[in-house]
Every structure is written in structure tokens, then in C-alpha cells.
Symmetry: C2
Amino acid sequence: MMENDFLQSLERQFAARPPVLVGIGDDGAVLEADSSRKVVVVTDMLLDGTHFQLTEVSPVLVGRKSLAVNLSDLAAMLAKPTAAFISLALPRSLGTNIQRFSEQLYQGLQELADQHDCVIAGGDTNSWDGPFAINVTLTGSPLGKQIPLRSGAKPGDMLFVTGPLGGSLQHQRHLTFQPRLDAARWLADHVPVSALMDISDGLATDLPRMVLASRVSAVLNTTQIPIHPDVPDTLTSELRLQAALNDGEDFELLLAVPAEAAAILQAAPHHLQFHPIGTVHAGTGVHLKLSNGDLVRLPPGGWQHRMQ
Amino acid sequence: MMENDFLQSLERQFAARPPVLVGIGDDGAVLEADSSRKVVVVTDMLLDGTHFQLTEVSPVLVGRKSLAVNLSDLAAMLAKPTAAFISLALPRSLGTNIQRFSEQLYQGLQELADQHDCVIAGGDTNSWDGPFAINVTLTGSPLGKQIPLRSGAKPGDMLFVTGPLGGSLQHQRHLTFQPRLDAARWLADHVPVSALMDISDGLATDLPRMVLASRVSAVLNTTQIPIHPDVPDTLTSELRLQAALNDGEDFELLLAVPAEAAAILQAAPHHLQFHPIGTVHAGTGVHLKLSNGDLVRLPPGGWQHRMQ
């Protein structure tokens, strides 16, 4: 019953505009691909209790995050968003608050979508007896000619991240972060990128994925890893490093570029940050180069400080 | 932890092939649009307890249905599938059965995807304390030059459905139905279609959506509405009609075509069915023409037989 009214209000709110030819209100949406004909598609499902706590967070921020994590995936493909598709499982336990909840959720979605010229073009709204779940699928188009994958890192490449890491969950940065589409746009035009991904589960989890996909190894210089101000100063330097490696939900980009491109990154416009953090080599696995020069293997699943 | 292994097994199982250039395993997928550059996108979320009962149904059929309802949406846009994106919220309560459950689910998805030459190209797998939820997004490309919407019906058009209606939920047809891509393929080439949608909530709910979107009215000839053999013979003819109008989950196509195209439909290949069921007029709302010739207004939300 709600669905008809709700859909009609969404139809009014989110009109189709190019490259979306048909938006909300039909059995499907129709988009027009750009002249490259390449379409990038990303999707992420976010769940109450896992990706946010509905008891603690405004639905506006939940909507925002659900889109932001997908925008981060697009940035990691050097693509810009074209259309968003939003599926909702709304808990019946919201009772009469269900409409206000949905409106706030869509407010968070729309504000961020508008910032990135992304059309909300379709979706599916349901209510059920389970907790709140949202799935967002985004289509995008390439920002330039290259679509770097996580599998392209080569021995000799240098590793960079687009910002400091750690403390995201603790300080709610995971709800308010800016997906790195500005960095992606600049990279697409200026730098040949060997491999690219976003850091969602933490550098210590995501870098091993890149080196595995690329069939290479990597060395991280622990003294170079930028640590976010959200990681408390009062911690030991070991614990601060551990936070930067393991906390996750950073949504910074991790990239491998040929050594000769490193100078271009270091001359990037001032509002973009590219921190060199390590190097790519033949072999397998990830090693940490500690401040005393020792090399230690990064165990799968993250690095835990061991008492000396 | 499961996610890495599971993703790697999916990567092996579902290799990318054109028009999917990059499939499972990266931050996103990359597709190549056909020369029309038009990309159709549909999405549906299915929830345990609402769209199926996991206690009563094999995960194979749940996977199948999750894809089938989306294929039905594509058929309703006269499009064929190119790629599927599968997001899962798996209940932790499955315990050690979680892997077997996922494999069976993907078996049902894959069998139907293969039948329709659709590449499973990405997704997102999560576990949580809630019930099972699945979201499927499909991309597709137009089967012909026309992409008929539900808003295109015009006075003078004739209404058709692609098969008999009613009894789908009761007889589990909603789990095993064939999405009408064969009818869509033929329509794309042979018939100028004014308006098209699939019947998911029942003719009595979906036809009003079409006439509202098209700003027209319609008359349904109750004697012409094909009633599915799943509707028990033992019911009165009134109750049988009610089942065909209201039951829903038919996933047949509902189409409006110019009167002059009706003869083409009636000469369609034998394996396709196009049942004429009514006519489109100026005005608003839907009327039923009863067997005695009386016209009665179809109330919103379905038709209930009233005792005479």
C-alpha cells in the first residue's frame, strides 16, 4: 500500500536527466553509455548492526554512507557515477516512523548524489520483520581511457594512499568521509596507474588482496604510513601504526604506479594528497619495514603488535 | 573471513565474458554497451518471509526466483540481460550450513543465468544476525529499437497478456515461472508496443498502474481473462476470476498495442501466447465488463466479489 505513494513521491523527487533516459517509475531504468560504451557497475549492501547502528546514527548519515561506499568503489575504477539504484528492506517495527525514516534516508542519499551529479534512477522498496538493510548499485562511466584493476601492480611500482588511515569507525568518519572522486578525476588524466583499489577493510587486509591479485609482493615502510588524527596521540606509536593498518573503513584509495610516475604524484594539486607508503616487488606476501630497518611479514588478516 | 575464500570461488566459477569485460573480483565490473549505447537496469530485493519462506523452499529455487523476477522486469522493457550483480545478507544462524546454502543459491542463480546468456559479474556478500535477504541488479541491452514504458498506452489500444493468471503463490509457480523473454524477443521485432509491464502484484493492481501512468482508462473483459490451471476448478467462476485478478506473482507481460497490431499478435508463433483481455480508452480508472454486459469499476487494490 505504502509502495505506490512512496514511489510516486520518489518519481517527483528524482526526475530522470541525461545520461538517464528513463528513471524511477517503470520496470527498469534506461541509461545512455558515453562514447567509450564502457559502463562500470558497483554494488554494496549495508546492514543495520554491521555497517552502522541504527540506534545511534541518523538515517540521513546511513543514506549518505550507503552511497558513499559505492562512490568510493567507482573512484577505485577511475569512473564517475551516472545512476544509483536503491533497494530497501524497511523494518515494520518502525511503525508510523517508516515514512519519516525513508525521507531522511533519501535526504542523505540525495545530498551526496547531487554533489556528484548522480541520478537516483530506480530501486525497490519493501517492508519486513527483519532489521534494516539497504543495497545500492551504481553505474558509472570511465573518467579517462584507463580503468586500472587491483591485479595490475608490477615489480618496481611504488605504492601510495590518498589520505591518512585509522580511527574511522571510532570517530564516525566512516559516515562522513568524502569518496576520493577528486583524486580519481585527476589520476585519470595525469598518471598511468598500474593498480588501484579502495581501502575498506584496512590496509593490512586490502594490500594483501592487491598483491595476491597482481601476483607480486610489497614492502610497506611503516614510518611513511600516514596516521589519521582520529587515532589518539596518547597511544604508543606501535598501537597507532596498528590502528592505521587494521581499523578499516578508511575509504582512501590505494594505488600502485610505475616509479617514474611517482614524481607526477608528488607534484599533484595541493588539495589532493598522495602519500608514498611502500614498493612492489616480485614474490608473494606483504612485509613491513619497521623503523629499525627490520623486515617482518604481515600475517593474513592484519598486524598485531607483539610484546618484545 | 569467509568472504575472501567465497569470493575466490565465485571468481573461478563466474569468469567474465563479453559484453562483460571485468567481472567478479575487483571494486566494480566493466561492461560494454551495444552500438545503441542504451543500457537497461533493473533491480529487485527479495526477503525471507515475504517473497519466499526459507523453511519451506530450497535455496536453489530462492536463487532462481531472485534472478527470474529481474529477468521478467527486463522482458517488460524489451531488453535482454547482460550482467547480474548479487548482494547477499546471510543469517549467521545458518552456522556451518552457510557455505552449502550459498552454493545452492548460486546454483539456482547460475542455471537460469546460463539459460539467458547472462554473466554473473559482481556483488557483495555479508553475514548478519537478521534473516536472509538478497538483492539482484541486472543490466540489459535493448532487443530492438523500441523500449516501451508503462506510460505509453493510448485510447484505442488493445490489451493483451502473455499467459493465464492466478494461483501462482499457492502452487509455487512463483518459484519456477519462465520469464517472458521469448515473447519479448518476438515483440521487439514484430509489433509496435504502446505500453508494457510485467504482472507482479496481480492484474487488478498492475493494470491500474499502467492506466495511471498513461493517463487513460481501460475496460477488462472478464470473460476473456485467461485463468491458470493452478486456480482450482472447484471454485465458483467469480472466485476463479478474483484469483486471476488479485493473486499476483504471475510474471506474465501486460501489453497495450494499437488495434491494427492486434492481428499480428494473434498470428504469433505457436509457442507464444497473447490473450486479448480488454481495451484502452480516454478517461481514468479500470472497469470490468462482466459476463452479463454490466460495467463495474475496479476498486484500487483489487477486486472483491460482492454477494448479489
